[in-house]
């Protein structure tokens, strides 16, 4: 203590500084020291060491006496140190005292009680809870004042004067010598060389015009840019400019107050959420009761930005928008009135079959029709009255019926299962009957020919039950077609791919039978693919055999293929040849109808997509320019199909009528359609066990 005091005195004593700077340094040092001393002194005082002689000596000592720095207070009873107090939050103690014992926490007071207490206590405002020591401290008056002063930004001590008069410790009176003895240098008296250089540089720059001082003159920014329009028409030699399309003009729904019908209902708005992001409308109309209630549009800047992006990032292409009247796209067809007669309305129904009628056939005279059904019966009807003339029970579901095309030979060919029956219809006069009976007799001593052309395992048998001939095939026969002369007929057995057969399938799928000789032969040429249907040429000795995709045309005399018609269809279901023989229609299971002009090309002249479901049958009229198609969708189409004798003129095809009336059963609608041989009438057989006659 003594030592410190001596030091202070020594410092306080004015020395003889000969330099101003050292003096300043000393001064600052001394102030620091004084501060420190003050604290030292006051701790001394508190420790009870009376040092009365010193206390009154200097001002600093007086200040020291009133000091209340933290060190003069009692040491904190908690000794945990500077640790986060939350470590002890869940403990029962707040720390340890100096002896290492736990200091337990005080009981928490009831909030209500503490509130009441605080309300009662007038000194409550100066109480502070010390978390560290877990005790409440009441601030003294001096302490509160000190806090106030600190809060005001003043020095904590009331007595401290920040603006105390400056005491110059340095004594100037006795100074005999100057602070520095060095002589004044020359550079203090001559102008700077470098400055001169710099000035010259600037002067030169100004002279050269590199540095300009006057502000650039303001020109009027806008002027008459498009003054003389006439001179501006010269071509820029640049690509053609495509102006950006203007943005869409707003409709009624964008109004701030649209009609109520433009505002979607809540359900609709909810349904927008389920929509795809792209389909979702980006603007939902809303209604505001008055102009003042319209809020700012939140996408204003974004919309504008998107427009900008469109303008400079989107490739622009000039697209021609043609305003087409859709009616003009439709082909111009001749009036249907001029194309009469054609079947239009249902005139008669032939009822009697129990199951779906699968096949019908018209007799050459046009007086009778035969029908075969899945209920295993074949019936003959009188066309004009609808009377059922005759009925045979075949026993199996009938696949196909076909009249002999000769009117003097009323024989009916019926295919049912693996059998083909040739039945005597019993029509015609006695002479006819006799002739038929002659024809229908099969000699038992029938010796099969050994030549390769004849199918050996096929037998012509006398069928007494139905009064005719029975031809037993080795597979199911789907169609029977007569040659125009009524002597030959062909049967088609579509190959069952799943069942492997000993005999080459393709070779024996189509057989040609001759009635007069009771002879069967296979086709004299090779068939490519599996046949579906076959038919004879109406006038010449040409045979058509159709596979699933293509139709092949064979010459029966020369025994070779003439032509292959490429249909481009997926699966052919039926074919029909125009009575002229040069045109042909092909129906497919995808509902398409192809018209082939065989002179023109092997590709279809026209493909008509008319039915949504399978086409079951197509037919040409023998004398009228009509053809028809029937489909499983329960409709039949009637077309006008005019073939001109002039080869340069293409056939004219006009759809005339859609015939409805059949109801579909088991997914099958109209199963067969046949024209009347003389009248423009159409017979249709339906899966609803009805046969209908449509007349003009």
């Amino acid at each position: 203590m003594e030592l410190l005091k001596n030091r202070l005195v020594r410092l306080n004593q004015p020395t003889q500084p000969n330099h101003i700077q050292t003096k300043f340094m000393l001064q600052t040092n001394s102030i620091c020291l004084i501060d420190h001393l003050q604290e030292e002194l006051c701790t001394d005082n508190d420790n009870g060491v009376e040092d009365g002689g010193q206390s009154g000596d200097s001002k600093s000592d007086q200040v020291a006496e009133e000091s209340d720095s933290s060190e003069d207070e009692v040491a904190p009873r908690n000794t945990v140190g500077d640790v986060p107090l939350e470590w002890y939050r869940d403990e029962k103690h707040i720390g340890y005292d100096i002896t290492g014992k736990k200091i337990t926490k005080k009981d928490r007071q009831d909030k209500l009680v503490s509130f009441l207490e605080s309300a009662d206590d007038s000194k409550n405002w100066r109480k502070i809870y010390d978390e560290y020591n877990d005790e409440e401290i009441e601030l003294t008056k001096e302490e509160t004042k000190l806090i106030c002063r600190l809060a005001q930004g003043k020095a904590p001590h009331a007595d401290f004067d920040p603006y105390a008069p400056y005491v110059d410790w340095f004594e100037w009176e006795d100074a005999k010598h100057p602070l520095s003895n060095a002589p004044e240098p020359k550079r203090r008296f001559i102008p700077s060389k470098w400055e001169a250089k710099k000035v010259v540089k600037y002067v030169r720059a100004i002279r050269k015009g590199l540095i300009k001082f006057d502000k650039p003159k303001e020109e009027p920014r806008f002027y008459l840019l498009w003054g003389d329009e006439s001179s501006s028409v010269e071509k820029t030699g640049h690509l053609s400019y495509i102006p950006a399309p203007k943005s869409k003009l707003p409709g009624h729904e964008e109004s701030y107050n649209p009609s109520p019908e433009y505002i979607p209902t809540q359900e609709e708005i909810n349904s927008y959420q389920l929509m795809d992001e792209e389909d979702r409308p980006n603007f939902i109309p809303q209604r505001y009761a008055s102009l003042r209630s319209i809020p700012a549009y939140e996408n204003a800047v974004k919309d504008s930005f998107e427009r900008c992006l469109d303008l400079y990032l989107c490739p622009r292409v000039r697209k021609k928008r043609i305003n087409i009247n859709p009616e003009s796209l439709k082909p111009k067809l001749p009036s249907r009135k001029d194309l009469r007669p054609y079947p239009m309305t249902c005139y008669l129904e032939y009822r009697g079959h129990k199951g779906a009628v699968v096949s019908i056939s018209t007799e050459a005279s046009g007086q009778w029709i035969a029908s075969g059904s899945t209920d295993g019966t074949v019936r003959i009807w009188e066309v004009e009255t609808g009377r059922c003339l005759k009925m045979w029970e075949v026993g199996e579901a009938v696949q196909y019926v076909a009249w002999n095309p000769l009117s003097e030979l009323p024989i009916l060919a019926v295919s049912a299962g693996q059998d083909v029956f040739l039945m005597n219809s019993g029509l015609g006069n006695e002479e006819v009957q006799r002739k038929i009976k002659d024809l229908m007799r099969v000699e038992k001593s029938f010796a099969p020919d050994d030549s390769g052309n004849v199918a050996s395992d096929l037998s012509w048998l006398q069928d007494d039950e139905h009064g005719g001939i029975r031809l037993r095939h080795f597979r199911t026969v789907t169609s029977v077609e007569w040659h125009r002369k009524g002597d030959y007929f062909s049967t088609v057995m579509p190959a069952d791919i799943l069942v492997p057969h000993k005999i080459p399938i393709a070779l024996f799928s189509i057989l040609i039978h001759r009635l007069s000789d009771k002879l069967t032969q296979k086709l004299p040429f090779k068939l490519h693919g599996l046949p579906v249907v076959s038919t004879f040429h109406p006038t010449r000795s040409i045979f058509f055999a159709s596979t699933k995709k293509n139709v092949r045309v064979y010459d029966l005399l020369k025994k070779k293929m003439i032509k292959k018609l490429e249909t481009g269809l997926r699966e052919i279901s039926s074919v029909a040849v125009h009575p002229g023989g040069d045109n042909m229609i092909v129906g497919s299971k995808e509902g398409k109808l192809c018209w082939f002009d065989m002179d023109l090309s092997s590709k279809p002249y026209r493909v008509l997509k008319c039915h949504p479901k399978d086409i079951t049958s197509v037919a040409f009229h023998r004398s009228y320019p009509l053809f028809a198609s029937s489909s499983d969708d329960g409709t039949a189409y009637i077309f006008h199909g005019m073939v001109y004798s002039d080869l340069n003129q293409n056939p004219l095809i006009v759809p005339l009528e859609i015939l409805r009336g059949h109801t579909s059963a088991n997914g099958r609608g109209v199963t067969d359609c046949k024209f009347h041989p003389r009248q423009p009438w159409l017979f249709t057989a339906g899966a609803d066990s009805l046969i209908k006659l449509y007349c003009h």
Partner: protein
Amino acid sequence: MARVTKHKHYRPPGKKKEGNAARYMTRSQAVKQLQVNLPLFRRLCILKGIFPREPKKKVKGNNHTYYHVKDIAFLQHEPLLEKYREISSYQKKIKKALAKKDEDLANRLRTREPTAKLDNLVRERYPKFVDALRDLDDCLSMISLFAALPAEQRLKINVELVHKCRRLIHEWQAYVARTHKLRKVFVSVKGIYYQAEVEGQKITWLTPHAIQQILPDDVNYSVMLTFLQFYETLLGFVNYRLYHFINVKYPPILDPRLEALASELYAATRYIDANSRALVQHNDSISSISDLDKAQQGGTHHQESELRLAQLQHQLPSNEPGALMHLIEDNNGENEDDQDTKECKKLFKDMKFFLSREVPRESLLFVIFAFGGAVSWDGDGAPFKEVDQSITHQIVDRPTQGHKYLSREYIQPQWIYDCVNARIILPTDCYIVGRIPPPHLSPFVDNEAEGYVPDYAETIKRWQAAARNEVLPMPSLGKEDLDDPQNLLVEGYINRAEAIEAAERKRKMESLEKQYHEELKMELQGVNNPSLASKKTKTTSPENEEAKEESIPDIQQIADDAEKMTKVLMSRKKLGLYEAIEKNKQRKKTHVNKLKERKKLHETQKSA
């Protein structure tokens, strides 16, 4: 021997590129060729108006942007490119000076920064004034948007820019208002759409509502600012030219007092007014004095007319056969236009409006000025006060009006807009303060083409007709007869049904016509009760409908069949086109049906 692998686009060495490969280049190729960075390339493209092209065959792949080689060459020869290089090197100088702590030099450099002038570009992109007008839509929309945006230093939208935009758009609006070129106004949720017709060009622009706008973060403002830079130049020149042709000095010197009160529009219009009037007088005096120079003037006049003719001929494609016809038509068009302008000028003639505080002042001022009305508003600088007895209409947008003058009508602002669109003075009953006004309909929609006419459009049409003192035949009915394809098709087939229908239609038409005339009469007498009228129609209709229903299914079937059969014969291409058209029609129809359904629903709700 090295095997030559054939690429997809293999080109033997020495052979030049041809086709699309030679004609188009990708964006990165273009950037490389121009030796610029991507932002600068973008800026150049925007300013120069160059856009990507769609080559038929994309040589480099689908996910590239293609530019035409000529476009890029066009950019390469642009003096602006050099200018931008200069600017960037100058910026480097400033940066360097700052880095060397040479504030002085930096400041001195900053005083003479080079700036890019876009005058040539405007001229180049729009060789004729009409071209500029045609492309003005986006320009005006953008500038009016920026005039409403808050200045944000962070996004480089500074205060001067916003003020410049405000000024430009007000100058434009002042021109439109003073020359009465405004045609249509539509208040939408997005803002207010205006359509003006200047020199035969329909210019539509959108101004946002005068409310604090939101600046979203997912927007590239530098792109927008580049656009704005060009648009601002363009609009300046357009305004100059427009002002020049009505003999007003540009840029206008505005009354600083009004400008301070943020009613620049009014100031600008006043300026135009004053100036043009003075100039006209001036011209008059000159002409009266210089009688002596008449002969010479005649000469110049002759020259001028020749020049004009040459201009007109230039505007027309010369090889067209009916060039002269076009010329005459053009003249006619101008005359009509004039009539239109006259009509617009007279709409609010002799009417005095007063705007309350809460109505959108700028928009209404613009519209009322443009249609020849006199306006004042609540605030400083207003030409007349609220107490003025000659005010005919006060525009108010508050729930209730406290003190009311009996001499004037208190209406909502929508009345003004609806009147403008209908071009007649509508009855004010529905627009009275406190009432929900009738629907505000878009004037840009062709109701007939859309297939659905809102009720209020119908009433407005009738009012228009009544204002013209003519009795319209019922156009909708007559058209329906002709247009209905079903009827047409059926006609060929079933005569009986047709006869029945025709008779029925005739009857119906007669009754409707009668009723319509009655209604019209009532309307003219001032009885406005549409509900009563509609009730009447309902009472008459049901018998007719019953009669109709009997014959419908058969006819429907026949029509369908006919449709199907024609389709059978169509080629695939035509069928596709036909079906697309039909689909479009169907979509339109469903939309209309939905509207009708909603309307019905609304009506039932109302009555319940």
